[in-house]
Amino acid sequence: MTSHHSRNIPGVAHPATGRKRPNPPRHVPPWAWAVPAVVLVFLARYVAAVAGGWYAFTDWNGLTPTATFTGLENFRQIFTDQGARTALLNTVKFAACFVVLTNLVGLFLAVALNQHLRTRYLLRTAFFAPVVMSQLATAFIWRFLFDYSGPINGALDVLGLGALKKTWLANPTWSFWAVVVVLVWQFSGLAMVILLAGLQGIPQEVEEAAEIDGASSWQRLVRVTLPLLAPALAISIQLSVISGLAIFDQVMALTNGGPLGATETLATQVYKQTFVFGRYGYGTALALLLTVLIAAAAIIQQLTTRAAERRNA
């Protein structure tokens, strides 16, 4: 694929023509330029994570001056604890729904809003607005919407569908989907924007050529647009995998992990164990596990993307 930004500079030959690989520049930036970033990341993330992560191997309660080393005991407890298993399962389910649905809805919106609709900028803003809203406000307003005497059940009553009324956030089955609805509502706009950006990079001529060849709009989407959109999809999926596995705020504020663990995730468990139940060591062990899970998912995704790119190249 061409890099379109190079086309923005008039009078400069496209690098891909001429040589196969550009020569390295004669002067390279000094290492010193990277030093502040390295020091900050190392101190604030690595040293801090190790200083805090050490507690995963202790029975620290979060308060006492000393902690006893307990080896892998916390991890053993995690793997034998029913609650932790449920949380792990929910985490994966949430992440899967989050990744699939936000990207599908985002893709639909992006394709629809890439056309020359007169009000497209307004529409894009409308769908992006939830992304801007703070977690706190989102949860407040949706708790209100989902309340038993709230607008959703009220509307069902008005429509004569009173039989479908539910306590959405405390129903063992529906509470999960209620959280998913809020997640999709809030984050599809972000996927839309990332994918729109990818669509802008696809030359109009390619699509038009396909249209002239008599391809239906579905065929055009699947055969032409999607393959060209792959890099954008990869970024969007990567971001949603990382954030999907770490879902916390929405669950905490909407259902508090309930009813009875039905929406509990690893991230909410980390929080509750560490800061609510005073099991700092156990909570830290859970946090480490979650980190490994996210890192593994991110790396696998990165590798599959690279492999797919090489196949296509």
Partner: protein, 274 residues
């Protein structure tokens, strides 16, 4: 041609209907924020008998939203500037240098993206206490910068790898220094990805509740998300105030998106090439 126009019109109308559904939570937010206090707990679907804007004035004054807005702008602005400055230079170094050090550094930043930040809360708090950074903008900005640097560097590096070296070479043949080349040739070319980094990290920092709560408590420097929370009580919550405050906090962020829309979309497109 006519049928194409019609098709676009139907599509536009359909999208507007969908947007209306998307906007339902916002409609309720506005409706509740203008309800008179006495009507707050009538029926959820009942419209207010009159539009009462006193909650906006009340929230603005008793929530100190004016100073919270200033704090939010200082914290977000300062952090984003720091992130862009440090990550663009670091990423440029990584992308233009070869060898093991560059690879190891790249890995350091990559893993930094997923490291859980909450583990380091107490060690960082103690460190800040010793450095007298607690309760200062500088401290919180440093924390924000270090939190989002890895992701920013990841995006910048990807973009830079795809960016041709030709322009830099041309500048250097003309005798420009590395610094001059970066500032006047490379950085302007990075504009799209800079937009992405600024908006993504800006949003996350603008809405951050927890770090300001812990690190700026008791200073009068607390930003909007913390101020909004001050209307939430245990048994009684001033909902019209909460939602008025939320609406006030939304405006700057939405305005930023509207103005930055083009930039943002180009930015992601640039990042996507990486």
């Amino acid at each position: 041609m006519r049928s194409r126009k019609n098709r676009l019109l139907t599509r536009e109308i359909g999208l507007w209907l969908l947007a209306l559904i998307w906007a339902i939570p916002f409609l309720f937010l506005i409706v509740i924020s203008v309800k008179p206090t006495a009507e707050l707990f009538t029926s959820a679907l009942q419209l207010p008998s009159r539009i009462d804007l006193s909650s906006y004035a009340g929230a603005w004054q008793s929530g100190h939203l004016g100073s919270a807005l200033v704090s939010s702008l200082i914290i977000t602005g300062g952090s984003v500037l720091g992130i862009v400055a440090l990550s663009s230079t670091a990423a440029y170094t990584l992308a233009r240098r070869e060898g093991n050090i560059a690879v190891i550094m790249g890995l350091l930043f990559l893993i930094g993206i997923v490291l859980p930040s909450q583990l380091g809360l107490i060690p960082i708090y103690s460190l800040f206490k010793r450095l007298h950074l607690l309760g200062t903008y500088t401290g919180l900005i440093l924390l924000n910068v270090s939190t989002w640097l890895p992701l920013a560097i990841f995006l910048y590096t990807g973009f830079l790898r795809q960016l041709s070296h030709e322009y830099e070479e041309a500048a250097q043949i003309d005798g420009a220094s590395v610094w001059y080349t970066f500032l006047h040739v490379v950085f302007p070319l990075l504009r799209p990805v800079t937009g992405t980094v600024a908006i993504l990290s800006g949003l996350l920092i603008w809405n951050d509740f927890f770090n300001p709560l812990v690190f700026l408590s008791g200073t009068g420097k607390t930003p909007l998300p913390v101020a909004v929370y001050s209307f939430v009580g245990n048994y009684a919550t001033q909902w019209n105030y909460v939602f008025a405050a939320v609406a006030i906090a939304l405006v700057p962020a939405l305005l930023f998106f509207i103005f930055a829309q083009r930039q943002l979309i180009q930015g992601f497109s640039g990042g996507v090439k990486g």
